[in-house]
């Protein structure tokens, strides 16, 4: 799908959203919209696969026949249904009953069927519980089809849903159904909704450019980044995964089969559901990812608190964009937690280091972790300074990348990327000061592909460049009390241009001579006219 097509599709969907959401706020409407897109995506793929599977047996319907071919086949081949479903499960990993296919739902919406709401409700339940081998419990739990916001009475709500579904169906019908299109559209809408509301939604959306930098860094060989990409990541983790776009970006860098397992964790339930849908929409098999709903700071995911060292999860790549300077409730028990015990407990006012240490604990020896944090973590004092010092002394901080301000929807603060490794080869720390390389937007600043390439290549080849990147020896960092404030190491200030006084003098003398010559010439004319001359000197 070309960029123009995508943006066109995005605009179309956005216009529908704007047109239809009425009393609803953007966040609520987003959930309906995205759920419908999700259903449509599953349905399209399923129908295409079923068509292929059934071959000539796939019913060909008349132009004006509004039934779905699969429904016709189900009606005519009752006995063969279990076989087909078994086969589809093997191939597609899921099954959708013809009644719940998007085209059936759309048909009900188009004809203003009074049963639409009930059918949709059953359909969503069916997908949660029966479509996939691993049940997606609660996938649509936050989607309230009985919400007052859709209408006061069930009849009103049914009507409103009919309208929304019809519009959405018609809106996307004009675009080709190549398999990535809906995934891309989904991604686009999440971004749009994030930009549009900002209040709530902005927090979970990492700008794609940052996402790309992180993904490209963690997919490079951790010991010798210059040798290029790893061939395979056994697993990747994002412990504050939001809608999962960062994980999907890593997957895109590695290729469809480049990752063993995708792990994600998300605290907000709506976002957690979005993340699971987002994975499926991008063609990740249900067996290829595990997203957990829970709080990373208290580590409520059993898998990550496995006491048996042999079973401990170790990830080859960890990425995250946790909420900045998040206020949390550290307590004594957490102080003894295996993740924080040897480094220290982040202060109540800012959980940044708690997030960092949480992730770092699950990094494999061969792995790379890249995390986006506010600049404050580089220089704040107190316990944060102690944690930073420990990480530095242990040689875990590999690279510090300073980014421009105003890259995010909801905040103007400048942010940085920390690259961490359990074991790293060089003794120094690479500082990249990219804070002045961006495209100025009306409100937000943007990183262009060349800015991204520059950062990633500087990291990859550990390049030094004046006013941009420098490898700093530990001794110098120690001298600075382990303060990592980037401008202390890589200043972007231009040194004042040296002035060659001899050359300036020469220039001034020449000018003076010219003035004298011109005045004399002028005085010559004045003399001829019998007028007093201009004074000289």
């Amino acid at each position: 799908m070309t960029k123009e097509e995508l943006s066109q599709l995005g605009k179309t969907l956005w216009a529908i959203a704007d047109d239809l959401r009425g009393a609803m706020n953007a966040d609520d409407f987003r959930d309906y919209m995205l759920s419908f897109l999700f259903l449509r995506y599953l349905s399209d793929n399923y129908e295409a696969a079923a068509k292929k599977e059934l071959g000539p047996d796939y019913p060909k319907l008349q132009e004006d026949d509004r039934r779905t071919p699969l429904a016709v086949w189900y009606a005519a081949n009752t006995e063969d249904i279990p076989d087909l479903e078994k086969q589809m499960r093997r191939k597609m990993h899921y099954v959708i009953h013809p009644d719940y296919l998007w085209s059936s739902i759309y048909e009900r919406a188009r004809t203003q069927d009074a049963e639409l709401l009930q059918t949709l409700q059953r359909g969503f339940k069916y997908i949660e519980n029966e479509s996939f081998a691993s049940a997606f419990q609660g996938l649509f739990s936050e989607l309230n089809l009985h919400s007052e916001k859709l209408g006061r009475t069930p009849v009103d709500r049914n009507k409103k849903l009919c309208a929304i579904i019809t519009k959405v169906a018609e809106g996307i019908a004009q675009f080709s159904t190549d398999s990535d299109i809906l995934g891309d559209a989904y991604e686009y809408l999440i971004g749009q909704f994030a930009a549009g509301s900002g209040k709530k939604a902005g927090e979970f959306y990492t700008p794609q450019s940052l996402s790309t930098i992180l993904s490209r860094i963690v997919t490079l060989d951790s010991q010798e980044p210059a040798t290029g990409k790893k061939r395979k990541l056994s697993c990747v983790l994002d412990f504050a995964c939001g809608s999962g776009s960062l994980l999907l970006n890593v997957r895109k860098q590695m290729g469809t089969h480049g990752i063993g397992m995708i792990y994600g964790q998300e605290k907000n339930i709506t976002t957690y559901n979005l993340a699971r849908m987002n994975m499926l929409l991008h063609g990740v098999k249900d067996s290829g990812f595990q997203i957990h709903h829970g709080d990373s700071l208290i580590n409520d995911w059993d898998m990550l608190s496995e006491m048996n060292p042999a079973k401990k999860v170790k990830c080859d790549a960890i990425v995250a964009n946790p909420p900045f300077s998040y206020r949390w409730e550290p307590n004594e028990a957490l102080g003894e937690d295996f993740r924080f015990k040897s480094h220290g407990l982040a202060p109540k006012s800012a959980a940044d280091f708690a997030f960092l240490l949480h992730g770092f604990h699950f990094l494999s020896d061969e792995g790379t972790m890249a995390i986006i944090l506010p600049h404050g973590v580089l220089f704040r004092g107190g316990v944060e300074s102690r944690i930073r010092t420990k990480l530095l002394k242990d040689g875990h901080i590999d690279t510090v990348i300073g980014l421009p301000a105003n890259l995010f929807f909801s905040t103007g603060i400048p942010v940085c990327i920390l690259v961490l490794k359990k074991c790293k080869k060089p003794d120094d720390v690479l500082f990249i000061n990219a804070s002045e390389y961006f495209e100025k937007g009306k409100r937000q600043n943007q990183l262009l592909p060349e800015h991204i390439d520059n950062i990633v290549e500087t990291y990859q080849y550990r390049k030094e460049e004046e006013r941009y990147a420098r490898r700093v020896e530990m001794a110098e960092i120690e001298k600075n009390d382990y303060n990592l404030n980037i401008s202390r190491y890589v200043s972007t200030a231009m040194s004042e241009q040296q002035i060659d006084l001899g050359a300036v003098n020469h220039k001034l003398v020449a000018l003076e001579e010219k003035i004298v010559a011109a005045t004399q010439k002028h005085n010559g004319f004045l003399e001829e006219l019998g007028l007093p001359p201009l004074p000289l000197g």
Binding site: R327, S349, A350
Partner: protein
């Protein structure tokens, strides 16, 4: 109740507050014009100290984070650019950038107003908006004075939160002094502001002590109930400042009045001006519950007595130019109406029973 303590100057009072009060929270009530704001400044200035830093330069240290009329002066509205400017040299702004204040202020602000904002750290400007344009850029708006005030208050709350949490940048804070947040805020928010502030302060496990002064009864009462502070009434007499311990006496205006009315009904010493007080309470109640007229607060009965009562009342109230200085005792008949109205009112609207004696027994209907 103990006798009031007398102070010759605000400085003396401020020193007393610093030295002698060992409660974690001190709550002062004072009418406007008593010198509350000047007291807060005196308190703050007393915590200033000039010391030499490591490099031998003279620096001023402080120990009080304060909110008062001057806090708002740290911000000013630039009408040409439609932004609120911050005077960032103040220590108030210490954590501004390194602590990502935006996401700390936003949830606080969302409780009071439907505006959003963005901070430009490079220029120290705040842009307010409700909508964004097609490119996602916010469309700047002029916010009302009230919204601006509530924003500044939320800014302060976010900073106070950091101080209470013992955050590095605000380690210097030993005292919080909050002078009348209500006077600059929308009255509707009085309870919300008070209860949010109380929740925040209660979570403090550090050593920060807090002084809160106000002229607002409701605010005073909520803070009093929530924090269980040392409570004082501050007044000025002959150039001296009097500090009187109020104990647990309710100071919330209408409760105090109701107590008085209850007492006069008990004693039978009901004067005509008490109808004025009652009407005042009824009107406030009617407004609070959204009724058109105070008579709606008089319990309605199915029998026609109601009609008589209302008629009688309207007459009484419309002739009610009673003087407080020449109190006239009511006619026995009117006393009976008065009792009935008050009793019905108290039965109909629930007030803390601990504050009021058992309601008098229902008289047997004839």
């Amino acid at each position: 109740m103990n006798a009031p303590q007398t102070f010759a100057s605000l400085d003396a009072l401020a020193r007393h507050l610093r030295e002698r009060l060992d409660k974690k929270y001190v709550l002062l009530f004072a009418f406007n014009g008593t010198g509350k704001t000047r007291l807060s400044m005196a308190f703050k200035d007393m915590g200033k100290e000039t010391v030499e830093d490591d490099e031998g330069n003279e620096v001023t240290t402080r120990d009080t984070l304060y909110f008062n009329a001057f806090t708002e002066d740290l911000f000013h509205w630039d009408n040409d650019r439609r932004v609120l400017r911050m005077h960032t040299d103040s220590r108030f702004f210490d954590g501004l950038q390194e602590l990502e204040m935006e996401s700390r202020i936003r949830p606080l602000l969302a409780r009071y107003a439907d505006i959003d904002f963005l901070i430009d750290y490079a220029t120290s400007e705040i842009t307010f908006f409700r909508e964004k344009d097609a490119d996602g850029a916010p469309i700047p708006i002029k916010v009302s004075r009230g919204e601006e005030n509530i924003f500044v208050w939320c800014f302060f709350l976010a900073v106070a939160q950091l101080a209470v949490d013992g955050q590095e940048s605000y380690r210097w804070v030993k005292y919080l002094y909050i002078d009348d947040p209500i006077s600059s805020l929308d009255d509707n928010n009085a309870i919300a502001v008070a209860s949010h502030l109380a929740q925040l302060l209660k979570k403090s496990d550090g050593q920060i002590r807090t002084v809160i002064s106000t002229h607002h009864h409701l605010f005073f009462n909520v803070m009093g109930n929530e924090l269980k502070p040392a409570q004082y009434f501050l007044s000025k007499e002959d150039g001296q400042f009097l500090l009187k311990n109020t104990g647990k006496t309710p100071r919330f205006h209408h409760i105090a009045l109701l107590k008085e009315l209850n007492a006069v009904v008990e004693s039978g010493q009901i004067f005509t001006y008490h109808f004025n007080i009652l009407r005042n309470i009824l009107e406030k109640t009617a407004t609070f519950h959204g009724f058109q007229h105070f008579s709606a607060c008089i319990q309605q009965f199915s029998d026609d007595e109601d009609g008589i009562l209302r008629e009688r009342m309207i007459q009484l109230f419309s002739h009610g130019n009673y003087s407080l200085f020449e109190p006239q005792e009511m006619m026995p008949e009117n006393k009976e109406y008065f009792r009935k109205i008050l009793r019905d009112f108290m039965n109909n609207y629930r007030f803390n029973p601990e504050l009021f004696p058992e309601p008098p027994q229902e008289s047997v209907t004839p």
